[in-house]
Amino acid sequence: MPRTSVKLAAAILIDGVIDASWLFIVAVGLTLVFGVLNILNFAHGSLFAVGAYAAASAVGWYYGGDLGPPFLGYLLMLGSALAVALILGPLLERGVLRFFYRRDEVVLVLVTYALFLILEDATKLIWGVESYYASEPYGLLGNVSFFGLSYVGYDFALIGLALVAGLLLWFGLNRTVTGKIVLAVIHDRDISRAMGVNVTRVFAFAFTLGVFLAALGGAFTAPKISVQPGIGITVILLSFAVVVIGGLGSVEGAAIAALFVGFARAAAIHLVPWAELFIVYLVMALVLAFRPEGLFQRTAARKI
């Protein structure tokens, strides 16, 4: 007997929001790094993977040794993402990327692609090819039922995480002094420098924040999956699609785009499952056909 339209609509809505939150968390770091540094970070997927591995290792150590109250595991996941950011952020930005800042946008993509290749093998050397799990945190929040469908509480917590991250980012960028300086650098690097802003420091900070967000996505995805080689590769393409649809450099854009893509995917899977393979690219092509710079276009001065 076919599903009632109410149940169907509810399922699409809820699945869409859950998917959208995941997409937002995973993609927002990419758009931030592009906005500030003008770098399309191909290594974003690998940073996601490193975050997942780090969290899985930390969580495995913590629960394996039964070292304390279960809910502290979440803090540990957050902490491991922070550790990844504090180690890899400065290392990659100061150690590799800064030699290429004067170069073309496209050359930087090649640099980040090289970084992606290196990180993939580095990850394999450190963690091997086995599966790692971080599943205890997944079950801690129990189950929630909506319209007869059982959902895992953790997925709804991710919605909360996405909202918190989004709001903190928005607030940080728009209402704090540091944030406004970052916005200024996004808008016009040269004038900011002329006004005395230490652009180099802003770059380092922004990139590290981008790494943190990528690792955060990985850390909080780890409980739902088996962490093993290759998890970063799907993420690159999905994040890229979300970020392009939303407009490169725009955090609000990433949020709206995540919702677009999340709902499109949910609708496709529930209603036209064979289209699941293309739906993301179709949405991307459609949006770009009408708004070539994405939903939220950055205002840029035109140089004659």
Partner: protein, 326 residues
């Protein structure tokens, strides 16, 4: 500029040199070079676009179209002649290019790149689900013939294909060089620098980019057909974003000054990839990444800039700056 005569002379010498090199080289190297040239052709198309300031991340579309055109012609129509198959690949690229160019000519920068990428992934998706074209497993082709010549042994087939590919490559490279040195070709460089001034001076940037796009599409189709013949296999991965990305990287690696550099870079990349795989089976990706970083670091203008440094001093060709103006 040496002009058309100089280019043609260089082309003739190149043909002879390649024929000799292919004869002397071991068989495995001949295949590597053949594949490298096929990929180099596609990268050359991207170089043509890059000269106008555009980067296409979706050349896989035309690469795939050329490969499948050749493949389906061989399987369904029984056509076995290499020249006909490659011509079909070129035509497939041309038709697709002419259709798509007007749609995309208005876009620039990263948005042009992403739209082309979306397009190629849609083609990938469609092919993945089309059982009659082999789905994700793809289709196998048999060895081609060359104007009726049926190579008897495997070594002969490899060498024949290498000669054929080299010939096509040299012709395409020569034509591109002539185009790049022509007025329209130089207009691309100007458009890359500042579109508004070019429009103000009376040329149409849309036309320039459109023509570059069609050139890239044709080269992509030819490269795809040649790859299909070398590998004996076609599959939807030809349109995958990673494949398109590889061509872009090749184009960036070689820079857009020298046409020869594209093919030298292609061979170099294939060799590095192959030797990384042999000596570092577990970490060949990382080795490749390190190699790429070193090249970008030490050769800012791409491999082509090496050729520039060997130029007789004094004559500096027109080259829009590869560096961002700060």
């Amino acid at each position: 500029m040496a002009g058309i005569v100089g280019t043609l002379a260089t082309a003739a010498i190149a043909c002879a040199a390649l024929a000799l090199a292919g004869y002397a080289a071991p068989n495995w190297l001949v295949l590597v070079a053949t594949l490298a040239f096929s990929k180099g052709l596609v990268a050359l198309g991207i170089v043509a676009l890059m000269r106008g300031g555009l980067v296409s991340f979706g050349q896989g579309t035309f690469y795939c179209a050329g490969a499948y055109a050749a493949g389906m012609a061989m399987r369904s129509l029984g056509i076995g002649d290499a020249t006909v198959l490659v011509a079909l690949g070129a035509i497939a690229g041309l038709i697709l290019g002419v259709i798509i160019a007007p749609l995309l000519a208005g876009y620039r920068g990263i948005f042009f790149a992403t739209l082309t990428l979306a397009l190629s992934m849609i083609v990938y998706g469609i092919l993945n689900k089309t059982y009659s074209l082999g789905g994700s497993d793809g289709l196998n082709l048999h060895a081609p013939t060359f104007f009726g010549y049926h190579p008897p042994r495997s070594q002969d087939a490899s060498y024949a294909l290498f000669l054929f590919t080299s010939l096509v490559t040299v012709v395409a490279a020569a034509l591109c060089r002539i185009h790049f040195d022509s007025v329209r070709g130089l207009l691309s460089l100007a458009a890359r620098d500042n579109e508004i001034r070019v429009e103000y001076l009376g040329a149409s940037v849309r036309w320039v980019n459109g023509i570059n796009f069609v050139i890239a599409a044709v080269l992509g189709g030819v490269g795809g057909a040649l790859s299909a013949l070398s590998l004996g296999h076609i599959d939807p991965d030809f349109a995958f974003w990673a494949t398109s990305g590889e061509f872009v990287f090749l184009a960036i690696l070689s820079g857009y000054v020298s046409v020869t550099a594209v093919f030298v870079a292609a061979i170099l990349l294939e060799l590095v990839r192959s030797f990384s795989s042999q000596y570092f089976p577990n970490t060949w990706q990382g080795a490749l990444g390190v190699f790429l970083l070193l090249i970008i670091l030490f050769l800012p203008g791409g491999l082509g800039s090496l050729a520039l440094r060997l130029r007789p001093s004094g004559a500096k060709p027109v080259q829009a700056s590869a560096d961002k103006s700060e």
